[in-house]
């Protein structure tokens, strides 16, 4: 496999070395946690950065809507990363957990909910109460779905979990008297989010999108932190053992059943949490939003970004979720329009729209190309790279 980092021209990589070394010397002494906090603060401040040339905030609501969605998918990706990246269980039905969390909240909070008549006006803080409930219900669902598929491996596991996801979707559509059917549950009033204190001198009014965005940034960091701790714990090592060779792990005394179920449970609980948050900020839960494509998107962003690696998940989400939505913006057309002088035969301004129109084809192609050129993903964890290199060597020598 070619080391694509060699494609970067020498002067650029040299310049980068200099910058990175200096940065390391300057910040090397600052502990990791502080660096993360700095990053978190930088991100939280995004809705408030103003254009120094005048014209107000750089990232207005339409940007925040995209960031919010990317953040949600990062959270889902972190959850699926636990199942796929850490424990090596390919789950193509992750949307089932996402739907569980979403409907958990929607069934209670939507006035259109057929079977349940919950006095949501009297209990506006329901959302907050439901967050831990979502984690719990998600974990439960994960265990329930995990038990039957315990003996399955690889491709079979993938297809069966896909089947589960589809069955859940059919259930949501057909059991109209319980789930509201394909009409969906709507009118979910946004829960009261704590007001973001004004931190700037000018009188900035923060909109709901700002608050949701910040909430998601915090949520993602917490989730990533927890996932990281899990990975570096005994549980994480058990998962690694199972991922590398399940029989050997079992022979070594690792309780594969317990750890596999744990992986499903943890992954599912994050998915469910994401679902609840989604239903709350979207204001509606329609079965169309919970189809196979969601599962495939999350798997794709984990795999393409780099498995077992939170940074990979972030990169995957930005590429697969962020960019297609960004392409709607006129800034995207402008950006692509910069290539116009180089490309004489086409109007590159249209590339944004063309890419959007064909985004599924591009998506499919991207999956194939990335897998063929770099099967470990773009930013794999060091372990994965080693595993793969080892596998390649063995294959070459046989």
């Amino acid at each position: 496999m070619p080391d694509w980092t060699r494609l970067i021209p020498a002067p650029v990589s040299e310049a980068w070395s200099v910058v990175a070394t200096r940065a390391e010397r300057a910040y090397g002494s600052v502990p990791n946690m502080a660096r993360l906090m700095l990053l978190a603060l930088l991100l939280i401040g995004v809705p408030f950065y103003e254009n120094p040339l005048g014209g107000g905030v750089i990232f207005d609501d339409r940007w925040l809507a995209v960031f919010r969605l990317v953040g949600l998918y990062i959270m889902l990706g972190i959850g699926l990363n636990i199942v796929v990246g850490y424990a090596g269980l390919l789950d193509l039905g992750y949307v089932a957990f996402f739907a569980t969390g979403a409907y958990l909240y929607a069934l209670l909070a939507s006035p259109a909910s057929p079977a349940i008549d919950f006095p949501i006006e009297d209990v506006p803080w329901l959302f907050w109460a439901l967050l831990p409930a979502a984690l719990f219900v998600g974990a439960l669902t994960g265990v329930l779905l995990g038990i039957p598929v315990l003996p399955l491996r690889g491709d079979y596991l993938a297809i069966v979990t896909l089947g589960f996801g589809e069955i859940i979707r059919l259930f949501l559509i057909n059991q109209t008297n319980l789930t509201g059917g394909s009409q969906g549950l709507y009118g979910i009033r946004a829960p009261p989010l704590p007001d973001v204190p004004v931190i700037n001198l000018t009188d900035l009014k923060s909109t709901a999108l700002t608050e949701w965005y910040i909430f998601l940034v915090i949520g993602v960091f917490v989730a990533a932190f927890c996932a990281g701790r899990l990975r570096d714990s005994r549980i994480g090592r058990a998962w690694e053992a199972i991922r590398e060779d399940e029989e050997v792990a079992s022979a070594m005394g690792v309780n594969t059943i317990k750890y596999k179920l744990l992986a499903f449970a943890m992954g599912a609980s994050l998915g469910s949490l994401g679902g609840t948050i989604f239903a709350a900020f979207q204001g509606s839960a329609l079965p169309d939003s919970f189809d196979l494509l969601v599962s495939i998107n999350v798997v794709a962003l984990v795999v393409i970004g780099g498995m077992g690696n939170t940074t990979g998940v972030v990169l995957g989400a930005v590429i697969l979720i962020g960019i297609p939505d960004f392409l709607r913006f006129r800034e995207a057309s402008d950006l692509l329009g910069l290539f116009d002088p180089i490309v004489p035969f086409a109007d590159t301004h249209n590339w944004a729209q063309d890419l959007r129109d064909n985004r599924f084809m591009v998506f499919g192609l991207l999956l194939v190309v990335v897998m063929v050129l770099r099967p470990v993903g773009l930013i794999p964890s060091r372990r994965r790279k080693l595993e793969f290199a080892l596998a390649e060597e063995t294959a070459e020598t046989t």
Partner: protein, 349 residues
Amino acid sequence: MADLKRIPVGPVLVAAIVAVFALTVALADDRNFWVEQVRNGLTTGSLYALIALGYTMVYGVLRMINFAHGEVFMIGAFAGWVVLTEVFGGDDMATALIAPAILVAMLVAALASASAVVVIERFAYRPLRNAPRLAPLISAIGVSIFLQHLFLRLTDGRFKQYPRIFPQGPDESINVGFTEIAYVQVFLVGSSIVLMLALFLFVQRTRTGTSIRAVAEDREVAALMGINANRVIVITFVLGAGLAGIAGVMYGLWLLNIKGTMGFLPGIKAFTAAVLGGIGNIPGAMAGGFLIGLAETVGREEINWITEQFGFGLGLGNEWKDGVAFFVLIGVLLLRPSGIFGEVVGKRA
């Protein structure tokens, strides 16, 4: 206890199902309904069976699910459509031309599907033979999505319609006493069985067929025996794709509407059929296909009828039709993962 293990599950299960069915027909008000659903199930099942063969053979030699096989089926359907409308004139073609037109369409479809799969195998699967096991699956998913949307774009997202050349209508059927079997249904079931028999004989009796079985059993040893494993793998893909392509034309002649996304569900159901029959097992896949077709129609209604007798009728209508295959898949993999007739997979090379 040991004696129980010797009971062949396959035949016993089949016998049990047949018994329950016979009981239902005897007790039900409208016998015609059940017979007709059987007829429907077999017709649909014949298509699933043809497609399932592709899955089962590829899994046998490569231990890989060709997630894009459903799209190969779709490509065949479109190729046939092009032939019938552009070359032969569509609805206006002379009656004498119909039979040869269909044959040519099937041939072209088989070629188109085969070519597509050769390209897919070479560029999306072969580079990933030694990659981490998720990679080929993700790549296959990518191919599937790409092809689906490519054809959607080519057709502006609409259905294209096959010319209505195959005699279909209220009178175009064989009367078997209590019900009618349409010519097109006979055609589908009959052709599928012929094709499947041909494949089976090919795999069992010819040299190439034997080398396929050899590679499926142990790729390394087969290579040591002088078999070009890559070539055999491609041939396997081609055989499966050819059958799927022909199935595509048959689908088009019967149901008329074809669309870029048409391959996804039949693909999954055909995979279920392959697993049901025992992956790698060619006769198993054939049986599995018919069984899934029956499960979707008769099986579902059977469940409705049984639960009604017990007072809490599930009433699974047509909207649950596609869900049946998923339930069967989960059921099979939980209860009897090697399939009804036993899987036929050798060591992974």
